[in-house]
């Protein structure tokens, strides 16, 4: 029995496994290609068994695969090819046209002549899991963003409330009885100090004062320039 027939005999049971499985020799000749890989890739057993895997799937010529498979052919530890870093080691499409995402483990299998090792690829379809995780990540990010927005809105609200409370406090201080000097118009504060009306008001209300003279005071202070109301009436 030749090597390929022996492989079909030894590994035939793996046709019933729901994982993509193939076995290659050190020279990358494909010895076994299971039914699942036929379904996934559309490459049939007669098309690939006996020919080079790297000839059919060119990425296996890249150093990142060659260097790791080399240790497998020497009987080294199994190699993992994760879905995030490799996506689809065996290019394959799902019925909806999306890429079939795979997680693959390659293990050494003793060669039939006990000289060296074959590399056995076992590939799991993790598309569904990957999509669910992406959906979950999207939902989680959205939820986190909403929480952040709520926190920001809450902080804004708190700030506004504080500002309003401050304003209200000042308004309250301006309400009620205000002791004022009948002569100079100074106002007595809570501590009993007399303050100019401008100084007092600007502490408790957002006001600025500009100074000018009313007509009566102008006439009283500068009679040479201004007339009083009574003067105006006499003139008439």
């Amino acid at each position: 029995m030749n090597e390929i027939a022996t492989a079909a005999d030894r590994f035939g049971i793996l046709d019933h496994v729901p994982m993509g499985i193939c076995v290659i020799r050190k020279d990358y000749i494909t010895l076994f290609w299971n039914s699942c890989l036929e379904d996934w890739t559309g490459i049939t057993k007669p098309e690939i068994v006996g020919s080079s895997l790297a000839g059919r799937l060119k990425h296996f010529n890249e150093e990142k695969y060659r260097s790791r498979l080399e240790t497998i052919f020497e009987g080294g530890p199994p190699a993992i090819f994760s879905s995030q870093l490799h996506k689809d080691l065996f290019p394959s499409r799902l019925p909806d046209g999306e890429t079939r995402i795979q997680h693959t483990i390659v293990t050494p299998v003793p060669a039939f002549d006990n000289k060296g090792y074959y590399a056995m690829f076992a590939s799991s379809d993790v598309s569904e899991l990957t999509h669910r995780i992406h959906d979950y990540r999207t939902m989680r990010d959205k939820a986190l963003e909403e929480i952040e927005q709520r926190k920001r809105a809450e902080a804004e609200r708190e700030k506004l409330i504080t500002e309003l409370q401050e304003a209200l406090k000042k308004v309250r201080m301006l309400s009620g009885m205000l002791p004022i000097c009948a002569a100079c118009k100074k106002i007595r504060d809570d501590q009993g100090y007399w303050q100019q009306v401008e100084q007092y008001m600007s502490q408790y209300a957002p006001v600025n004062f500009t100074h000018s003279l009313c007509p009566d005071c102008a006439a009283r202070l500068y009679p040479e320039y201004f007339e009083t109301d009574s003067d105006e009436k006499q003139n008439k």
């Binding site: 009987g75 190699a79 993992i80 994760s82 995030q84 870093l85 979950y136 990540r137 989680r140």
Partner: protein, 200 residues
């Protein structure tokens, strides 16, 4: 058999060759240039291991384990502290996972990175020993230190080798630590081989 300081240096050299190969493989796969260095190795007793693990931290850790059998049997374990794990994956894949989350996609990626590093180190050791070892399929576990190390199952007289590994990805100005543990029945065989080679 207690290793001499020369043997410890030789072990460190051997491990550095291994992680150097691991970094080289990672660099062929990824767009960023990663450097892996082992600043020191230590031989630990079971009690010393407990103290060392306390220093690794109480947080959740990701771990990749590789069991090996042969004349030299044991368990190689690579620990990623969460922060290092996230930094590595972010730098290497460009995806920014949430800090509180090591999901299944990340677990796969960390498994592969750990697998590459451990395989390279084991390759260096088995090449030196000229031994044919058989390996289990690596497994990935997450948890705190106590759940990752079952102290009851570690033989009291087991030799444990700790190699603190520093990774540096200059492009992203990222650095972090990975911890590699080897738990074996005895390192006598390895140390004897180092002596035969005249490196220890």
């Amino acid at each position: 058999m207690n290793p001499t300081s020369e043997q410890i240096d030789a072990l460190k050299e051997l491990m550095n060759i291994g992680v150097g190969r691991g970094a080289s493989v990672l660099n062929t796969m990824l767009n960023s240039h990663i450097t892996l260095q082992i600043p020191f190795v230590k031989m630990l007793s079971c009690d010393e291991l407990k103290a060392e693990l306390d220093m690794v931290g109480k947080d959740r850790l990701a771990s990749v384990n590789l069991l090996f059998k042969g004349l030299f049997s044991g368990n190689a374990k690579l620990l990623f502290p969460s922060e290092s794990a996230l930094k590595l994956v972010t730098a290497l894949t460009g995806e920014e996972p949430n800090a509180s989350d090591l999901d299944s996609i990340l677990a796969g990626t960390l498994s592969e990175i750990g697998n590459i590093v451990l395989n390279s180190v084991m390759g260096s050791i088995s090449n030196l020993l000229q031994l044919s070892l058989s390996y289990s399929v690596p497994n990935y576990i997450e948890g705190n230190v106590n759940s990752l190390f079952n102290m009851d199952k570690i033989a009291p007289k087991a030799d444990i080798l700790l190699a603190r590994t520093r990774f540096i990805i200059e492009e992203f100005n990222v650095e972090g630590d990975i911890v590699i543990f080897f738990e074996v029945g005895s390192f006598d065989k390895l140390l004897a081989s180092l002596k035969e080679l005249g490196t220890g």
